[in-house]
Amino acid sequence: MAAWLGDLYWTYQNVVVALGVNGLLALSMYVVLAAGQLSLGQAAFMGLGAYSSALMTLTLGWPFWIVLPASCVAPVAFALAVGGPTLRLSGVYLAIATIGLGEVLRAVYLNVDALGGALGLSGIPEQASPGVIFAVLAAALAVLWLVGRSGTGRAMEALREDATAAQAMGIDVGRVRLAVLVASAVLAGLAGALSAHATDFIGPNDFGFEPAVTILSFALLGGIGSPFGPVLGAWVLTLLPEVFRGFADLRLVLDGLVIVLAVLFLPRGLLAWRMPRKAA
């Protein structure tokens, strides 16, 4: 590789990593939205994945290929524990409950000394290469595509359109909702582990309310007709601040302008296309 090309890649390596990680987070939001659940626990799940994986690497010294799958354990356990009570809620009440859970976890990170408190955990080895991150993202997209086209995908869509009707059609609403929450936890947990092992450092404020809303905006900007929409939304929102870096002070204004225009003129998201389904 030519030297200037190497430099160019090195310069934007973190942006490339962020594209992969944010893509996974967008998918984590997509799975719950696709089943009609407004759950904002993705940042909390991501935090659990990031902290648990960082501890496995830093204190237990496990190799990365064990740490990565194991990083799903804590978020999934948390999803199963909170899923029972919270999934009885819906709409904005579920959103509020999940935001609350995220804040509880943030308070835990801040107050537990083993997690570094406000100083966070630093010195996490950079083991997640962009190749690994995009392989995970591609695998997640493939799985969601196949599931989306299957009977489960139809059940999710039925649930999103009308939960009562879906139940009347014989769909086990509770099971589907818990399943999508667990899937969401797995995706966000993986994203957390990959992000922690790509940027050296994690701190409690990386997983608070603000990131939770950012993740929601990925999915809403991209559109939730297919798994590709949210990933596209995540990529656009990740790239905008870097593309506009040259505008210095106007950067955030342009950022906001693009989002407002997208919401006004593309209410179904950037990618309004819906994935085709097999006939039943």
Partner: protein, 372 residues
């Protein structure tokens, strides 16, 4: 007409084709928070850097080459800081970087510059462990661990024997400051009667203060940003804390905003500062006068630290004899500089070596003065 246009084009081409020569600018970069809730710090730092850049470029470095400074915004986030550092090194090919603003940003961005072998110098990063990141990470900001013992010495001279510690437990700066306070109080032989914490956004501190009041400590030390410190002081006065209790602030209390928010309630609070606007030495008065002339307001501690840091860096580039990052790093270690902050050298671990420049300030009538 056409001929003139061709001549013009040729001139432009000739200018583009000029090979690198002695007059080329030496690129350096800075990563600071220029947008978002913490932008005030980054903007103060940028003002200090810009002023120092004028001073440096009056004569240039490496025998007359100007320094070109690119300041990138980190937005206060770890990804923003990493992206900015990567952009400065990868695209702008800077020889050294000043910043980032917050310790948490440095923990994320420091390893990037260090891994690439480019010196990175924090001017406002006071948390523990910053220079442990690696051999290319420096800081010119005195860590709280160095400032607090000087403040406590002053308190002990005033007869303080027992102390209560209060801190905000949800940001790195306050927590790290508290750890230093506790260690320094123990080392100074003070007896710690109570340790309590609160959240940075809390508005009610009466539970903690009532408990502390019942224990009657000689002093109360607070590690938090200026807004919660002001709230604590206002409420403490309402609860009847009087002159018999000495309030001691950490680095977060070292802001003129304390007097503006807390007013008379802050009177008597002492705080150690690496710099003070009314420090009477010649270099400092010249800096303050130049800053006032350029910006029409007083500099703060962050501007002063940034100003001195760019001077230190320019001197190191001169000593290195070349704009090579590794040579600059080695030259930085041999720094022996005197500026508005006082005499400055680095330790072998790339932290500031001396606390000679530290001044203990006392709040009087809503403004800081040098403590007696």
């Amino acid at each position: 007409m056409l001929r003139r246009r061709i001549a013009l084009a040729a001139a432009v081409l000739a200018m583009l084709a000029v090979p690198a020569h002695a007059g080329d600018p030496v690129p350096v970069g800075a990563v600071e928070i220029l947008s978002g809730p913490n932008a005030a710090y980054g903007i103060a730092i940028k003002a200090g850097l810009d002023l120092a850049l004028e001073a440096v470029n009056a004569k240039g470095v490496l025998g007359g080459r100007p320094l070109s400074l690119t300041v990138e915004d980190s937005g206060g986030t770890k990804d923003g800081a990493i992206n900015a550092v990567r952009k400065l090194i990868g695209r702008d090919k800077v020889a050294a970087i000043i910043g980032p603003t917050l310790s948490n940003e440095m923990f994320a961005a420091g390893p990037v510059a260090n891994g690439r072998g480019v010196p990175i110098i924090g001017t406002s990063t006071t948390a523990k462990g910053i220079t442990d990141i690696g051999p290319f990470v420096f800081r010119t900001s005195l860590p709280e661990a160095d400032v607090i013992p000087v403040t406590l010495k002053k308190a002990i001279a005033r007869g303080v024997k027992t102390i209560a510690l209060l801190y905000a437990n949800d940001d790195a700066f306050s927590k790290s400051g508290f750890d230093s306070m506790k260690a320094a109080a123990e080392a100074a032989g003070l007896s710690i009667v109570a340790i309590d914490s609160f959240g940075s956004k809390d508005t009610d501190f009466s539970a903690q203060l009532t408990k502390i009041k019942s224990l009657k400590p000689d002093a109360v030390a607070i590690s938090a940003l200026v807004e919660p410190v002001s709230g604590v002081l206002l409420q403490a006065r309402q609860l009847g804390f009087g002159k018999e209790t000495l309030f001691i602030g950490g680095n977060g209390s070292n802001s003129p905003k304390l007097g503006q928010i807390a007013g008379a309630a802050a009177d008597g609070l002492i705080v150690g500062s690496p710099w003070f606007v009314a420090k009477p030495d010649k270099l400092n008065t010249a800096f303050v006068a130049a800053f006032r002339a350029k910006y029409g307001k007083d500099p703060d501690q962050f501007a002063a630290q940034a100003y001195d840091t760019l001077l230190i860096l320019a001197e190191a580039i001169d000593r290195a004899g070349d704009a090579d990052p590794t040579k600059i790093r080695d030259a930085l270690l041999k720094t022996d500089h005197t500026g508005p902050l006082g005499p400055f050298r680095f330790t072998d671990h790339r932290d500031p070596a001396s606390t000679e420049g530290v001044v203990v300030l006392e709040m009087r009538g809503g403004a800081f003065g040098i403590a007696q």
